[in-house]
Amino acid sequence: MSTFRIPGKGRVDPSKPVQFTFNDKTYDGFEGDTVASALLASGQHLVGRSFKYHRPRGFLSAGSEEPNALLGIDHGPGRVEPNSRATVVEISQGLKTISQNHWPSLERDVGAINDVLYMLFSAGFYYKTFMWPKSFWNKVYEPIIRGTAGLGKSPTLPDPDIYSSRFAHCDVLVVGAGPAGLAAALEAGRSGAKVLLVDEQAELGGSLLSETDGGIDGLTGWAWLKASVDELAGMANVTLLPRTTAIGYYHQNFVGLCQRITDHLASAPEGTPRERMWKVRAKQVVLAQGAIEKPLVFDGNDRPGVMLASAARTYLNRYGVKVGASPVVVTTHDSAWLAAFDLARAGVKVVAIIDIRPIVPAHLTASASALGIEVLTSWTVTGTKGRLRISSLRAKPIHGSAAQAREFACDTLLMSGGWNPTLHLFSHSQGKLEWREDAQVFLPSKHVEQSRCAGAGNGDFGLARVLAEGAEAGVDAAMDAGFTAKASIYAVNDELDMTGISSRELPTDRNADTAKAFIDFQNDVTAKDIRLAVREGFKSIEHIKRYTTTGMATDQGKTSNINGLAIAADAVQRPVPSVGLTTFRPPYTPTTFGAFAGYNRGRLFDVTRKTSIDAWAEEHGAVFEPVALWRRAWYFPKPGEDMHAAVARECKATRDSLGIFDASTLGKIEIVGPDAAEFLNRMYTNPWSKLQPGRCRYGVLLGEDGFIRDDGVIGRLTHDRFHVTTTTGGAARVLNMMEDYLQTEFPDLKVWLTSTTEQWSVIAINGPNARNLLAPLVEGIDLSEEAFPHMSVGVGRICGVPTRLFRMSFSGERGYEVNVPARYGRAVWEKLIAEGQAYGVTPYGTETMHVLRAEKGYIIVGQDTDGTLTPDDAGLGWAIGKAKPDFVGKRSLARPDMLKTDRKHLVGLLTADPKVVLEEGAQIVLDPNQSVPMTMVGHVTSSYWSVALGRSIALAVIEGGNGRMGETVHIPMPDGTLQAEVTGTVFLDPENTRLSA
């Protein structure tokens, strides 16, 4: 099979064969191969179909910039990943790969009809084709577009892998382990600085891995590489991270790295994460990301077998694979000649080198001549042929006639349009770019972060200069991080200067309007599309990008941006920099969602807070609901009960005798200090100075805008110590707000705040038998009606442990809230359950709690209020200490809009049909016959079946509701309009007799 493998060449390990499949056919490769190199070793160039025209495509590159060779990678059930670049996926035993974007097969694809119909698919075809009729959008166009859009297929099973993340800190982060990065890391490492050296490839070395000529300090390139990596690996202060992509560069040298840990392994120990996201804070950063070769733009530059010259060199030297038997090299840059020479020396018959330039360095033509390669300078390529693989190309002298054109039979075309420094990370860091007209490249200019660029990424391509620059960057970085270093000097053998020019579309004598000269291979954007966009009025590169979709593919335009920009600049007849460069955005290469999620999936997706009593609830069959980060028992169904039945039973038991409820999630704040009461005066609407120790009061907290933010019962334990409760969801917010006012507005007050939410388990006991249950168990607090009336608080012991006992009610029944230190919570709960059997004690959940409170018209902040209700709106005007000179939000209550009578007020609703339970959130209208859109005057905030009343009840906010008592309002629903009468909010026991029953 491996007819294109050259024995003895490359860095793959022939002693370790690896089998994998491509489209169900088994292929052989060696450890160290990528899918691309192994397929090429078997002569397989055709690996996919393009996005729009379904044109056959092969490998353009040998690296992460690959736009064409996107495969589905199958590591087993749930481990399927689409759009993986075959040029970077390492093979492992049993790996399955499949080609994408074709039907029925890669070789015969019906979608290729688009290629014939290409005139329909010019730039902006979406916008032009699907304009009218409007009614076609939802039913015709969008389904078709959705059906055909996209490349690979999304995985359908849950991802079984685990992902990891790690913060890390270092003195010097070096991105890229080519010669520049290695030299930088060596200097920084020798200085003693803590160094992180990362490279996206499986092996450190960068361009050194692809080149066999040249030598450093008397060693071959590969020997120097091994010595350097060995030295780095031996330094305790240096961490080497191959297979790790620096995906984003953020403020203050914060760099995201995605490390691939298991993908290249046939198997890994249980528990090994697939990928790890490093979040690195570096004192200094060295960017040595190298450069990416530019394709040439000519008709048919996308056929399988057409690839970058540097890629052919990499496949040959690094993987021992010749990409073809009869290559033609087409170039505007010296570096492609070296690919031709390497191939020729490896025994490949190089058909010709066609150089667009009129003059090329003499040493190149001399070498070509010595190797027997035909050289044509000042020639151009005007087209290629071949259905699934290039079979020939047509070339002609640039200034010659059509008669001088020649057809060259070939199985590969190796092209080079020069090199572009990889600027992505530098641009992420907001570094400024500078256009170099002579070289036709953008180069890094002003750094914004503590960073420096070195090597080809800085526009320097000679090995000697690259090493010197890397060493210097490493020294500078180490010194700036506080270490002492001195740059080594490297002696490089036989260094050749690399020169070249930049070209737009290659000159042609054919009709440019029918040429398929691709710029963005993945998105099928041609030079013609760019010029058309400019003719149609798009002048900014950002607009041209979006109109033509150039650079918007998964490769983010790594090989296409500069070609597209140069052609756009030419079309608008403006210099390149004035046309602008599209923004580079993270991530540098496609990154899995798993890597971003890290540990936060499954049970670690989010924090699930549980009370001390939660486990008891779980053991007793509770159904839970999430409330803020907590999970709370929602109801406790008995066998055969649905929620409705369980809640009805829980409500009845509580009103008839005794209910018990875990209220531990309530926020709690301990306020201590001589000014505690004054602080509460200023924060809450209510007056606090006269509240006696041993008593508690319901408090309302507003924002400065006058709207209700929170509420809760506040107990005064001693003159200087209050126990404040907040809503469950408001706990952290209220404490933050209090700290804000205390620290910044009222620093004169001698008072301190401490969160005690989790210090206490809170057990709410409600019902006529509440005192009967508690009295025998409580020590140190006289529970008699006279000594401990409604709204009391006492400190004593219950069941032998300390308690803060509140007498209060959120149900309308006689109620107590037993606070005990949290670790006693479950034991006290169990004791109360046991002792409560005499009264048929019934545990209830949040749903019953909601029903009981709604029957009494007690609001839930955040459900019955929404941040636009004042105390008066919510019927809580009685809780305002009107004599107080100030409290947070007081002034706002006097603003004109707050005094309007048509504000939304909280009211009760009783449906005309008592069996109908309204839907929470349902909109309310006054005129049911009004045409749509109707005038909505409010909505239902709370709605339940009340077993106590034998009918439904609801709370709602309605414009001018206080003035509509007794009126009928209408609630339009999908299957009919409902009627309800506006009432007060208290449905049960308005005289509050039950509180002391």
Partner: protein
Amino acid sequence: MLLIRCPYCAAERPELEFTYGGEAHIVRPQNPSSTTDDEWRDFLYIRSNARGIHYERWRHMHGCGRFFNAVRDTVTDKFVMTYKAGLPRPDQAELEAARS
């Protein structure tokens, strides 16, 4: 993720430990009930929404717990300096010194 210097801890700490607190130097009137409706509206809602230098409040929420003030450039998202709550707005010279 930014690093933010807490003026109370006198240390740079990760942004994760901090929460944002809106514009700084919005003084709550000593006696709100004596303010006009317009004055009170301005206090409640009118903010500078600066492009460039912005004075703002942060809290070292998951650290020392202190509210403090910061000068941040809203164009570059970079902090120029931070200072303790209650201190006056730094003057131009102080900002220049902090920048260099």
